[in-house]
Symmetry: C2
């Protein structure tokens, strides 16, 4: 992965930078020893590594502001980092950058049940936000698979979704306001507890902007009352295409299950070997979950099963107990781990119109054979957000490159059928060069001109989102 040439002079001025940062932060919040800095050399896209110049761990909006002021003043790039769970290299450092970790920003600032929001510092993990309100019967809806570890800051940067986003929407639908520190250290409030905002929708612009526009330190999040109950049904089909058609029919019917998860044969096999969830022998499996009162659950499941039966299912198994529900979900949740047992893999993240599912699944199978890689599909099918897993052997020369080439083909396919490059993982460094497949030069120019407004010096999260040759020329201009 090509990374930008370090900014001239920055490396030599590290001692001055450390001195200035130490003047505004507690001693242990500035990490400059090379062996400690190494901990920040990558995120969950571990194929790419680059140690930053140093790392800082501010504990308040004021400290974040002080750090950004100094870096802005000295022309030092800053890479914001949540929990480092990005699968797209969203917080991969550059050699001349300061990693700004939000791990110490973990306070709940306000809980308001009548207006259904919580205000938190963004270093809190996704799951701990639900933890702060669940004893009162509430929860925070977006639930990425990494929810135990991932930070709200990263959720906002990538506009994260999760299994439940079919019903509740993704982060942008559950974010009411932010406190953001601009590239020059200025602190701004955008949005708030109200549902709309006058003027241009800057909150919508910031959600999903991958740390390009500012560092979000506090967030006002919508919370929802927990449903009375939930129940999954497991449905097996004898081809991916038929399972895909069944998903399209469920969506078309107007039912909104809380989740429709899809697993194909490679995933089912790996999962059964690993977690023994008791899945049926079949080519493709759907887990469809609905929630509500007992009566609502029964009513919705009956309609969903009615639709499935028109597609000649191999098996339909409605969960009969909390135990069985947990076992059904256990398989899905361990799917990534199970594939990890079988070898190295790349996890893709593309989005397509739901009606294209059968067609795209078929093409992915063909492309996998062409490139000679096993591809497993396990994903949120209800909203067309696919996560093909491409298996490869990292110890065999050329395998990573060919897996990446296959990944690029699959993502281009997503774009070509009217979809796009990313559903919830973001562009990061992983897909920056594919942006030219989705966007014309004028489109990219418009996006970069908006970045110019927020970060005129292009210091925030360098080398991400935009193709390197394009963003590099921008930095030179700035």
């Amino acid at each position: 992965m090509e990374m930008p040439v370090p900014k001239p002079g920055v490396l030599a001025r590290k001692p001055e930078l450390v001195t200035r940062l130490r003047a505004v932060l507690p001693h242990d919040a500035v990490i400059d020893a090379p062996e400690e800095v190494k901990a920040y050399e990558c995120d969950a896209l571990t194929a790419y590594r680059c140690a930053p110049l140093l790392a800082v761990l501010p504990a308040s909006t004021e400290e974040v502001s002080a750090v950004l002021k100094i870096c802005h003043d000295m022309g030092v790039p800053v890479v914001p980092r949540g929990a480092g769970t990005s699968l797209a290299g969203g917080s991969l450092p550059t050699a001349d950058s300061v990693i700004l970790g939000v791990a110490r920003l973990r306070e709940v600032l306000e809980v308001n049940y009548p207006d259904r929001y919580i205000r938190v510092q963004t270093g809190m993990t996704n799951l701990s936000v639900t933890g702060a309100v669940e004893s009162d019967g509430f929860f925070y809806a977006p639930d990425p698979s990494s929810q135990l570890a991932c930070a709200i800051s990263g959720n906002i940067a990538m506009n994260s979704g999760g299994a439940h986003c079919l019903k509740y929407g993704v982060t942008t639908n559950n974010l009411l306001g932010v406190t953001m520190v601009m590239a020059d250290g200025e602190v701004v409030e955008i949005g708030g507890a109200e549902m709309e905002a006058a003027g241009l929708d800057l909150l919508g612009l910031i959600c999903g902007s991958e740390g390009q526009l500012g560092v979000v330190t506090e967030a006002t999040l919508r919370i929802l009352p927990k449903p009375e109950g939930a129940r999954p049904v497991l449905m097996g089909f004898d081809s991916n295409e038929v399972a895909g058609a069944c998903v399209a029919d469920i969506i078309r019917s107007g039912l909104i299950p809380v989740a429709i998860e899809f697993m194909d044969r490679p995933i089912i096999r790996a999962t059964e070997a690993f977690a023994k969830a008791g899945y049926p022998e079949c080519e493709a499996l759907l887990i469809v979950e609905v929630e509500g009162s007992e009566q609502e659950i029964a009513d919705q499941l009956a309609r969903i099963i009615g639709i499935a039966e028109r597609h000649n299912p191999v098996e339909i198994r409605e969960s009969q107990s909390a135990d069985e529900s947990a076992r059904i979900w256990l398989g899905r949740k361990s799917a990534f781990g199970a594939m990890g047992q079988m070898g190295d893999y790349i996890c893709l993240d593309g989005t397509i119109p739901v009606g294209e599912l059968p067609n795209v699944l078929k093409r992915i199978g063909e492309l996998g054979e062409e490139y000679g890689h096993m591809v497993g599909n396990v994903f949120h099918a209800g909203d067309g957000n696919m996560h093909p897993l491409i298996l490869f052997n990292a110890n065999e020369p050329g395998q990573l490159a060919s897996a990446e080439a296959l990944g690029a083909e699959i993502l281009k396919l997503c774009v070509d059928v009217g979809g796009c490059l990313t559903g919830e993982h973001g562009v990061g460094v992983e897909k920056r060069d594919l942006m030219t497949h989705q966007f014309a030069p004028a489109d990219l120019e418009a996006q970069m001109a908006v970045k110019d407004v927020f970060d005129p010096k292009w210091l925030l999260n360098p080398a991400k989102v935009f193709p390197l040759h394009v963003s590099d020329s921008r930095r030179a201009d700035g």
Copy 2:
């Protein structure tokens, strides 16, 4: 209402402009006779009028592009106009501007049921979009009160909502993509049938941007299957505060009715005199509607009535027939007309956190008495979107000014409790000067810098959204 000084030279070059526009448009699509141009002197905010230089009615994206190219070239401001139903003066002309009406852009371009979208030209009315798909059992969810007349282009410009947006979201939640003509005539595609977009969220930025960033000529809209059935319940309370508290409790419970409409005593009286809907004698009335299967409806209404009963309702009346449902809604839908019978009125549009409803309704009553105006409240309560109607006598000198001053006080109150200036009508000319109450100078500067990116010459929809002295200085810079 102060309007900008006409751009030097534009008025004198009208003949040249007409000649150039006639070269790219059919003869009857360029309207320059003063008596015909006068038809475009105002929108639904009729207190303000200003005839434009001329009006054009292009019938395709190409014709819109040709018009914008010419105007950009000659430095002529352009005011895009949907159906002219804006209550905020969103399409009020300036004397030096070309009104660009989208009334001839009325084609359905594509209908796709498996992926649940429709692609239309944006001059189509809101209701005709539903009309295009309802025989197949689908509908387009956002339903502004003006849906019979208002155009999709205006819905996108103002991010319109409606009674049903509590459940289905507003325009931004139902818009998948746009074809937009930039200020210089370039045609761009943003978004599409997929659910997410890589890079910066320009689609979210454009929705609600009030014609400041470009002219949207085509839109891909989400369509939904019609629910099996729907049923309202009418609930009367003996004070606004108690009705407001009941709304907050329903929202807090996690139920999502399709609509919660609120009417206070002045509205109930005016409506009864006008439409004879059979509303009970009480201080505040809620219409709560739920939808789904018969069983779901019964289940949800039982829970809602249970919550209402804890607030000592004067009356609870569940609709027993389609006829009764129609009568219940007839009152609500004729509320604006009924108030119009009683005198002139200003219709406000502010948004507040739902928990603030009781407090804000009380303060509105007090402010109304202070200023000596009757204020009626009829609004979408479930999402905190208020529409206070301020009565005044247009024939009595000073009454409009004092009604406007009261309106400004009420909107400031909305902002002060954590809400904002507009829910769905937009800022337009009406609220541009209040923007400084909601936003700090740096916030406005950021929004205007984003406009600079899309419309560097500040030719699109001048004198709206931003305070005039601020946007005027911008135009002079440009």
